[in-house]
């Protein structure tokens, strides 16, 4: 894998190096640009050495939780039981569309990364769970997988290394909750996608009750680059606790929405204004979601926060899936809150009461505010509903609504109150 030369302080581009080359989705073109060389390199090492490289790289999961990948791999028990590797390609966090770009344009990068990860983790069966809406991307993956199988990269005794791997592309059918790892596993087992109680964590008891490693598309697609440049070299990119490059999806009120590959730790302003062009002429940033609609919102004064896992956590929010949604000053905060709350109400699986009822009542209270029927106390009640959801459910879907709504109430209290009063008077 080639890396573009660093220019103007920009990090080398790893994942997007040749992303728009015509035919990159085919094996022939992918191999011509150095594809599957990292796999050969990995198979020449022992699985432990590959794992060391992943640990040295310091790469943290790109799906949302930001857990160190190398550590996660090492949680899998040793032994000859059936172990599974599942790639989470159910990219459904609102605002996120980075995995879509990778799977559509360079599916072989994902497959190569997945094979290397399976070698390091000692798993022989793997699945890519892709959301059902991504038909084009799933077709691309299926075609790439067919080629990889024919070339001997997937199957029995890969490149005479003794390592075998089966890989199946599994298409979902439209459910946000199936992006949650245990909901995904239930869905992959052919059930309703209800999350499971943790622990036991999937690393010990996951798919079909076997030890299961679950990784995001971007995480796995970065693995070939890590192997090519070496874990230590990769760790020099980014900042200490957030190494490497990251794909960010910028959308909402910006002039150039799209995917950008950045080095972690650059100021957020550089992404929103420098790369994506900022809000349209004459408008200002009102608030922004740094990591998908599940992350607490930040205001314009937080634009200089470095874009990395720890800096965002210190700012009271999270990097999440790396999806920046920008809202400008032409949009009432109530509309934003309503969209977010309605989404989570629709997507709550209904298993845990705080989430099922909390999302429902939050929408009702927001509708009351909009209808002019709310009392000032409602805002406090709504804030306390959010507090009672957080940490009280099997998975974080409820938290994913409670955190942004809670942050909006805290940061835009005056606007909520003004909106409430204005609606009350106009409906009186």
């Amino acid at each position: 894998m080639m890396a573009a030369a660093s220019e103007g302080g920009r990090a080398p581009i790893l994942l997007f190096a040749d992303i728009d080359e015509p035919g990159l989705n085919t094996l022939e073109v992918y191999e011509r640009r150095g594809g599957y060389q990292s796999l050969r390199k990995a198979l020449a090492m022992t699985p432990e050495e590959v794992l060391e490289q992943l640990k040295a790289s310091g790469i943290r999961g790109r799906g949302g939780a930001g857990f160190a990948m190398g550590t996660k791999v090492s949680f899998l028990p040793k032994g000859s039981m059936d172990k599974y590797l599942v790639c989470n390609a159910d990219e459904s966090e609102p605002g996120t569309f980075k995995d879509r770009e990778l799977m559509q344009k360079t599916p072989h990068t994902l497959i190569e990364g997945l094979i290397i990860a399976s070698y390091a983790a000692g798993t022989n069966r793997s699945f890519i769970y892709i959301r059902g809406e991504y038909e084009l991307q799933a077709d691309m993956l299926d075609a790439a997988l067919h080629e990889a199988r024919a070339a001997g990269y997937v199957g029995e005794n890969i490149l005479d290394s003794g390592h075998s791997l089966s890989l199946v592309v599994h298409r979902g059918a439209g459910a946000y909750i199936c992006g949650e790892e245990t909901g995904l596993l239930d869905s992959l087992e052919g059930k309703r996608g209800n999350p499971r109680l943790k622990p036991p964590f999937p690393a010990l008891q996951g798919l079909y009750q076997g030890p299961t490693l679950i990784n995001n598309v971007e995480t796995l697609a970065t693995v070939p680059a890590i192997l090519a440049m070496g874990g230590d070299e990769y760790a020099k990119l980014g900042v200490e606790t957030s190494t490497g490059t990251k794909l960010v999806s910028v959308s909402g009120h910006v002039q150039r929405p799209g995917n950008y590959e950045i080095e972690l730790g650059i100021p957020s302003r550089e992404i929103i204004y420098g790369l994506a062009g900022g809000p349209p002429e004459g408008r200002e940033v009102k608030c922004w979601f740094p990591g998908g609609s599940s992350s607490p919102v930040l205001k314009a004064e937080d634009l200089d926060v470095p874009y990395d896992f720890n800096s965002l956590a210190q700012a009271g929010t999270m990097l999440g899936s790396g999806a920046i949604i920008v809202v400008d000053d032409s949009t009432p905060i109530l509309d934003v809150a309503m969209k977010v709350a309605k989404f989570y109400r629709h997507e709550s699986c209904g298993k845990c009461t705080p989430c099922r009822e909390g999302t429902n009542w939050t929408v009702k209270m927001l509708e009351r505010i909009d209808a002019g029927e709310a009392t000032p106390m409602d805002l406090e009640v709504m804030a306390s509903v959010q507090e009672h959801i957080i940490g009280n459910c099997l998975c974080v879907l409820g938290d994913a609504m409670a955190m942004p709504i809670g942050s909006m109430i805290a940061k835009f209290k005056d606007e909520f109150e003004a909106h409430m009063e204005e609606r009350r008077l106009s409906h009186a």
């Binding site: 080639m2 573009a4 220019e7 581009i13 997007f16 190096a17 040749d18 992303i19 728009d20 080359e21 011509r32 640009r33 459904s92 966090e93 609102p94 605002g95 996120t96 569309f97 995995d99 770009e101 559509q104 059902g132 809406e133 991504y134 038909e135 084009l136 199946v168 599994h170 298409r171 059918a173 439209g174 459910a175 946000y176 992959l188 087992e189 052919g190 059930k191 309703r192 079909y208 999806s249 910028v250 959308s251 909402g252 009120h253 929405p257 799209g258 995917n259 950008y260 590959e261 790369l275 979601f289 609609s293 999806a323 949604i325 809202v327 509309d335 969209k339 977010v340 989404f343 699986c349």
Partner: protein, 249 residues
């Protein structure tokens, strides 16, 4: 999805009908706003035996559908994992997850229809009531709605309903489709198009009706990555291209 008010109205009508005809058991009385699940108040016939695994001798299954489901089942250590792809395949054949479609899948997979019904009702893309042949999902989540998706959805739904063959098109507002860079956007029979404006609606519907590719220049598949620093262009030339070039090696 129906609003609670519609569900409540439906429940009241059902009760009236049942009382008039005296044929159906009375539905359980509940406050409609307490539930968001359509059909929660439909009474269960307790006299009826639960459906078992369908008898292969009595359940005709189209051979292509059977082959597809069996191929999916072979992919997994547990055959039930094939539930989603199998239901999707049956939906392609039948148009929706009809009782007949579910019966056929259940027959091939050797599971009960109730199991598949429970799965089908969980997922947004599996339809549990009859719908139009063409699906148009309009993303109305946060990024798209900031760019005007709600107006687009209203215009599309109205235009589709008003035009000829409106019942052939299933226009739905959908949760984030993962294409916020082309907001506001829609997925037309699985093909992503955007950014759309209300002015694109007539052309989009005409393309769907005519069976043409929908708005070809707005399709996501043709979009290049937004990052100006991407693409090194340091791409090794193909040996054949090199030879074809004058003075090439």
């Amino acid at each position: 999805m129906s609003t609670p008010e519609e569900i409540l109205r439906g429940a009241q009508n059902l009760e009236l009908e049942a009382a008039e005809e005296g044929t159906r058991p009375r539905p359980v009385r509940r406050f409609a706003h307490g539930s968001r699940v359509p059909g929660w108040d439909e009474a269960v016939d307790l006299e009826k035996d639960p459906a078992g695994i369908p008898d292969p001798a009595l359940t005709p299954v189209p051979s292509e559908l059977r082959a597809e489901i069996e191929a999916h089942m072979a992919n997994y250590p547990d055959r039930r994992s094939a539930a989603l792809p199998a239901l999707a395949a049956a939906q392609r054949v039948h148009g929706w997850c009809s009782p007949e479609a579910i019966e056929q899948v259940a027959c091939v997979m050797r599971v009960t229809p109730a199991y598949l019904e429970s799965v089908a009702s969980f997922y947004d893309m599996l339809e549990t009531s009859p719908v139009g042949r063409h699906s148009v999902y309009v993303c109305t989540n946060i990024s798209c709605s900031l760019c005007g998706a709600d107006e687009l959805y209203a215009a599309l739904a109205a235009a589709a309903a008003a035009g000829d063959g409106g019942d052939e098109i299933n226009v739905r507002s959908f949760e984030c489709l993962g294409a916020c860079d082309i907001a506001p956007m829609a997925s037309v029979d699985g093909v992503y198009v955007g950014p759309l404006s209300v002015a694109d609606v007539p052309q989009l519907l005409a393309d769907v009706h005519a069976g043409r590719p929908v708005l070809p220049d707005k399709q996501l598949a043709r979009r290049l990555v937004a990052d100006p620093h991407a693409n090194t262009r340091e791409f090794p030339e193909h040996p054949a291209e090199q030879a074809a070039r004058p003075g090439g090696a």
